[in-house]
Symmetry: C2
Subunit: 201 residues, 2 copies
Amino acid sequence: MTPRRRGRPGHDQDAVLNAAVRLFNTRGYDATSMFDVAMSLGITKSTLYHHVISKEQLLTMAVDRALDGLFEAAAETAAQATTATARLEQLVRRSVLVLAERLEFVTLLLRVRGNTEAEQHALSRRREFDRLVADLVAQAQAEGGVRADVDPATAARLLFGMVNSLIEWYRPDRGDPAVLAGTVAALAFEGLRSDRTHPNG
Amino acid sequence: MTPRRRGRPGHDQDAVLNAAVRLFNTRGYDATSMFDVAMSLGITKSTLYHHVISKEQLLTMAVDRALDGLFEAAAETAAQATTATARLEQLVRRSVLVLAERLEFVTLLLRVRGNTEAEQHALSRRREFDRLVADLVAQAQAEGGVRADVDPATAARLLFGMVNSLIEWYRPDRGDPAVLAGTVAALAFEGLRSDRTHPNG
DNA sequence: CCATTAACCAACCACTCGGTCGGTAAATCA
DNA sequence: TGATTTACCGACCGAGTGGTTGGTTAATGG
């Protein structure tokens, strides 16, 4: 199946990335040294630098995987020909799935502070995603599907604040992501209150 | 009014703490050196150590201010003799006010990773607060004020995930915190959807 | 005027950091 | 077999880190 690679067998870049990201998330990016990453793989620091060109490259690769996933989700929902309200709910559900699937990468993304050029690039892509959501909320309000008494940008931020909080407590072994996506969408759109008439019965 | 202090006038510990926390939040705690903190106050590193005993002490003081605020809010709402649902909503509103008022301190708190003993102590107080919220949600469900089809711990996490997201985008000059607290409570309890019957007409 | 109090600084220290260099060990291919 | 490819390591480097030491400067109080 997998075509045997030439040369001495060992770790590849993907294994290195996964190990690094796991450490970055538990101890923090700056608090994790390249020595720590090497140790966790059972190799030396110089060997680590054989697989990767810098610490920052590891960060860049990780946040790109997260951002690519989110923008794919956005593109797929945008392609659907329904109401803006339905697309917004779809985007929430799909985003939850992306967060669950690429949990470690998204976790790192959401903690980026913008200290380097690479981090600032990631931040700017994040802001682009936020604008996209805010626009969708505004459209949903215009068509009457979403309450119009809140600023769309604020609503978008609170909505995805809820979604993004997943990285703080969700663990892959804890339940089906699709079920969780349903819970999040229900809470976001119908609210916590129980003494209300449900549209579908 | 303020009783003049003896000795050579200059910075006091509070000024140092505020400057430090501001830098910790913009660059990250580990990425900020004590030299940076000193520079931002226009003093040298050794003078900085005259006001404070260690970098970790600055962290501890900051997160304690945040946690004290949150637990005060919890104690005040717990003292009220109404329904659990009303108390939960009050806690959400009050928490938003605490976040807005002590924004920098809470921001630092929510980014603590648990690398040192002091950080682990902060994390354990955070978890205590989370349990408190989850219990309140469970009580509200039992009395029928909150939908019972979601796990109380999950609902509590999502609810405060939304509240805590404030630190990512709220800025003190942006609107009245009390209005924001109302928006958050409305979105959390009534949801985004607009095609629903409102209990109060 | 002088003791006291407090803010301040230059120089220093042991240590860790991200990253480099030159060379070796183990696999595949011809 | 021998060339090629790839993984690997020990030793090193300059820059910075949190923190210390010993001493100076400016204010207050008696």
